[in-house]
């Protein structure tokens, strides 16, 4: 649980720091005059969807931190740990997600121009297609990876690492799927006449979300495959 506690302590520290700034000089019992209630002090970029994404990412981080904590505690409780191999397909899948994330980033860069020319419009749709295509390919690749592990005899009943892979990749895939649904809704709404500004905001949020899920997958990949041996030694030590 140490990992999760560090994460939560960080979140709470950030929250408390923010609250101190908001409250330290405030005297709530003193009423303000009607003439001086200021109009706006929240920065224009801090919109409700952006705050919501930040809060949601904190929740998702909590889910994955707890999953990894459980994985490490399960390792610590096992006198013997049967390690998974390092399948080539896992590298391929990781590469696909990197390209997917890159695609979303290029789409974001293209769409955020005030007056995009034909080049940037085409670049946007191409990058979006690349991003979505690679993400779908990544998810299919994860399924094939799971099949490959099963075919090689790394059954979930015998290899708890295999079971953790299934659970973690399922959770990760479910979050990607949710992102695809949001992205599709935004594009469909735009095609039906929603303003470009709404699409721009949605693509920005999706790009951040994709980068975040790429980061999560790299961490998961590290603990499940590449770094499993030293991690086990550390947990048992």
């Amino acid at each position: 649980m140490t990992l999760t506690l560090i994460l939560l302590a960080t979140l709470m520290a950030v929250f408390s720091g923010w609250l101190i700034r908001q409250s330290i000089a405030d005297t709530p019992w003193v009423a303000a005059s009607g003439h001086v209630v200021p109009l706006r002090s929240v920065p224009a970029g801090v919109t409700a969807p952006r705050v919501a994404l930040g809060v949601f990412l904190a929740v998702v981080t909590s889910v994955f931190a707890l999953t990894i904590s459980a994985y490490m505690m399960r390792m610590a409780a096992s006198a013997e740990w049967r390690f998974l191999p390092h399948p080539q397909l896992a590298w391929v899948n990781t590469g696909l997600l990197v390209i997917g994330s890159l695609g979303l980033q290029i789409a974001w860069t293209s769409v955020k121009r005030e007056r995009p020319g034909a080049f940037w419009r085409d670049a946007f749709w191409l990058a979006l297609a690349l991003g979505v295509g690679c993400t779908v390919a990544f998810m299919a690749g994860q399924y094939l990876l799971w099949r490959e592990l099963m075919a090689a005899g790394y059954y979930m009943t015998d290899y708890v690492g295999s079971a953790f892979f299934l659970m973690m990749s399922f959770l990760h895939g479910a979050h990607l799927l949710g992102g695809l649904v949001v992205l599709t809704r935004a594009v469909v709404a735009f095609r039906r006449g929603a303003p470009l500004s709404r699409l721009r905001e949605s693509i920005a949020l999706c790009a951040v979300y994709w980068h975040y899920l790429l980061f999560v997958w790299i961490v998961l990949y590290s603990v499940l495959f590449v770094g499993a041996v030293p991690l086990y030694g550390w947990c048992r030590g």
Binding site: M12, Q22, A25, P28, A31, A32, S41, V55, V160, A163
Partner: protein, 596 residues
């Protein structure tokens, strides 16, 4: 002008709220079924949570009948007794208390008290309710599958929960886990709304330090829930895989009923850590909204500003943060390094400090207040008594050496029911009596309310006080029958019968409350917009009940905190948050402004 102090340079950082595009359906289905109005969603949450809560209340009576009068009711066997215990606990904690405080009061009060038109994501808010309803239906369906619901105890400890011989191991436990996963998904949708609405949709002038403590309590509880529920989510998912796919996250190699299980190497302790990492913050997920609401009830009905507002806010934040580092005090008897026991006992006792601060501040708010013994105030005072009682026994159980002999006895049952069942329920009742006039436009019958309070207050003490004694006697919890056990004396049985009768009386009293709710809907006195002369924004709406959009064409502007009661020099003994200092009417005789 009244001699009301105000600071012309006060720098409030409010956002100018942009107008929302609200969906205004005209059909009955659009308005009341697939509604995106947070107030309607709140009522939907309230009705569903109350309905499932009544099921749990019925289950508690089943338990009490068996314990009070063993060998009398042939329908109650050891299996369904354990099922009643398990379902009662889980329903009350998660599906009633959490859903009612956050989904019910959170939805109704956050937009109104913040001065917002609605939650920031109304569609997501609607989805949140329907996923919650699906979770409840999945849970209820477990009563009707082969083998019935799970009987593993509300904590669902493996390997027992998924081992042959435990009631509900076929379908009940699977449906319970699925239902919990659904509940958490639904809650996350709602929780995002509550947090973002508080952060982003407050009206002009509503600084964080002017928020009513009700909003602070619900806000912080939501933050806790968003971070703690993932632990239950992960634990449920892993146990589901253990149960359905034969993985070994939690289940070690065991021989059960003469058969070697296919599991190997799983760690039951891992589940306990995950469960209580959720389970202890859950106590405060329920308690913090109660703390916030009771602060507002006491201030309003004692006509005094809350004592130590900033301290109250920081106590809520401190309790929330500390609640994440005390979970293992639920596991003293699970086997742990004594150093860890000491650590968790220390953190547990530290959390008593901000909690005690809150109690002192409530009492100091009442001190020399103009106390109106209305029904909400009675319940608020009942809460303070009950919470202090339950909190003190918590200090006992927080110590390892005291906890070990008392663990799994009725002392623990008495403690957590006082602190986590009766105390929050007192606040829920108080809050319903307080806000029912705004929700419906009618007052609840006061005589029936007072009878309801006294029967419930005295009745619950008749139930739970004797349980402390049973605990000291060593009477274990969760047992179907005690048989000829040497240390269980005749007086234990007599007390058990007494408790059962008290429980039945308290349960029947709730019929009076439900009748009052239904009767007053048509026959209650007209409430008017602000029957309690309260200061917060929900009482300043142009319509009662408030229409969709809450505040008419213009959103209110806030000039003051929510606790301007009995302000010296003011004509009225309350100044609403949206009244600027220039418009406060002075008292004609230059008096205190306090009305008798």
């Amino acid at each position: 002008m009244a001699h009301t102090a105000y600071d012309a340079l006060s720098s409030a950082p409010p956002a100018e709220v942009e107008e929302m595009d609200l969906v205004h359906p005209h059909s009955f289905v659009g308005k009341y079924i697939w509604s995106q109005d947070a107030k309607v969603i709140a009522v939907q949450y309230g009705i569903t949570a109350t309905a499932i809560g009544l099921v749990a209340l019925g289950l508690s009576i089943v338990m009490r009948l068996q314990l009070g009068f063993p060998d009398t009711f042939s329908l109650i066997d050891p299996g369904n007794y354990l099922q009643a215990v398990s379902m009662h606990g889980m329903i009350m904690v998660v599906y009633l208390l959490t859903a009612l405080f956050l989904g019910g009061f959170g939805n109704y009060l956050i937009p109104l008290m913040c001065g917002a038109r609605d939650m920031v994501f109304p569609y997501l808010n609607m989805l949140s309710y329907w996923v919650y309803l699906a979770a409840v239906l999945v849970l209820v369906s477990s009563f009707f599958v082969t083998g019935g619901p799970t009987g593993a105890g509300w904590t669902l400890y493996p390997p027992q929960a998924i081992s042959a011989g435990t009631p509900g191991v076929d379908g009940g436990i699977v449906l319970m886990l699925l239902s919990l996963i659904l509940f958490i998904v639904g809650f996350t949708m709602g929780g995002l709304n509550y947090v973002v609405t508080v952060l982003q949709a407050r009206t002009r002038g509503m600084t964080l330090m002017r928020l009513p403590l009700t909003v602070w309590g619900i806000f912080m509880a939501t933050v806790l829930a968003l971070l703690a529920f993932p632990a239950l989510f992960v634990a449920s998912l892993m146990m589901l895989l253990d149960r359905l796919l034969g993985t070994s996250f939690f289940v070690p190699a065991i021989v059960n009923l003469g058969e070697q299980s296919s599991h190997a190497g799983g760690s039951p302790l891992l589940f306990q850590h995950l469960f209580w990492f959720f389970g202890h913050p859950e106590v405060y997920i329920v308690a913090l909204p109660a703390f916030g609401i009771v602060s507002d009830l006491i201030s309003t009905h004692a006509r005094r500003n809350i004592f130590g507002y900033r301290m109250m806010v920081w106590a809520i934040v401190a309790i929330g943060a500390l609640s994440f580092v005390v979970w293992a005090h639920h596991m003293y008897v699970s086997g742990m390094n004594p150093g860890f026991g000491f650590l968790f006992a220390t953190t547990t006792l530290i959390i008593a400090v901000p909690t005690a601060l809150k109690v002192y501040n409530w009492v100091l708010t009442l001190w020399r207040g103009n106390i109106h013994l209305t029904v909400p105030m009675l319940f608020a005072i009942g809460f303070i008594f009950t919470f202090v009682n339950g909190g003190l026994t918590g200090l006992f159980l927080g110590n390892v050496t005291v906890d070990v002999p008392l663990s799994d006895t009725y002392f623990v049952v008495a403690h957590f029911h006082m602190v986590m069942a009766v105390a929050p329920i007192m606040v829920i009742f108080g809050a319903i009596y307080h806000w029912y006039p705004k929700i419906t436009g009618r007052m609840l019958n006061e005589t029936a309310g007072k009878i309801h309070f006294w029967m419930t207050f005295v009745g619950t003490y008749a139930i739970y006080y004797p349980m402390h004694y049973l605990g000291f006697q060593g009477v274990p919890r969760r047992y179907y029958a005690y048989g000829d056990t040497s240390f269980i004396t005749d007086s234990v049985q007599t007390l058990n019968a007494f408790i059962t009768i008290a429980a039945i009386i308290v349960a029947l009293t709730q019929i009076l409350f439900l009748f009052n709710l239904a009767w007053s809907l048509r026959n209650g006195d007209e409430a008017g917009p602000n029957p309690w002369n309260a200061t917060t924004l929900e009482w300043q709406t142009p319509h009662t009940p408030p229409h969709h959009g809450n505040f008419g064409p213009e959103l209110p502007v806030v000039y003051r905190w929510a606790y301007d009661y009995s302000v010296p020099g003011a004509k009225d003994d309350f100044i609403p948050q949206n009244v600027p200092p220039e418009r406060v009417e002075p008292a004609p005789d230059g008096g205190t402004g306090v009305h008798a």
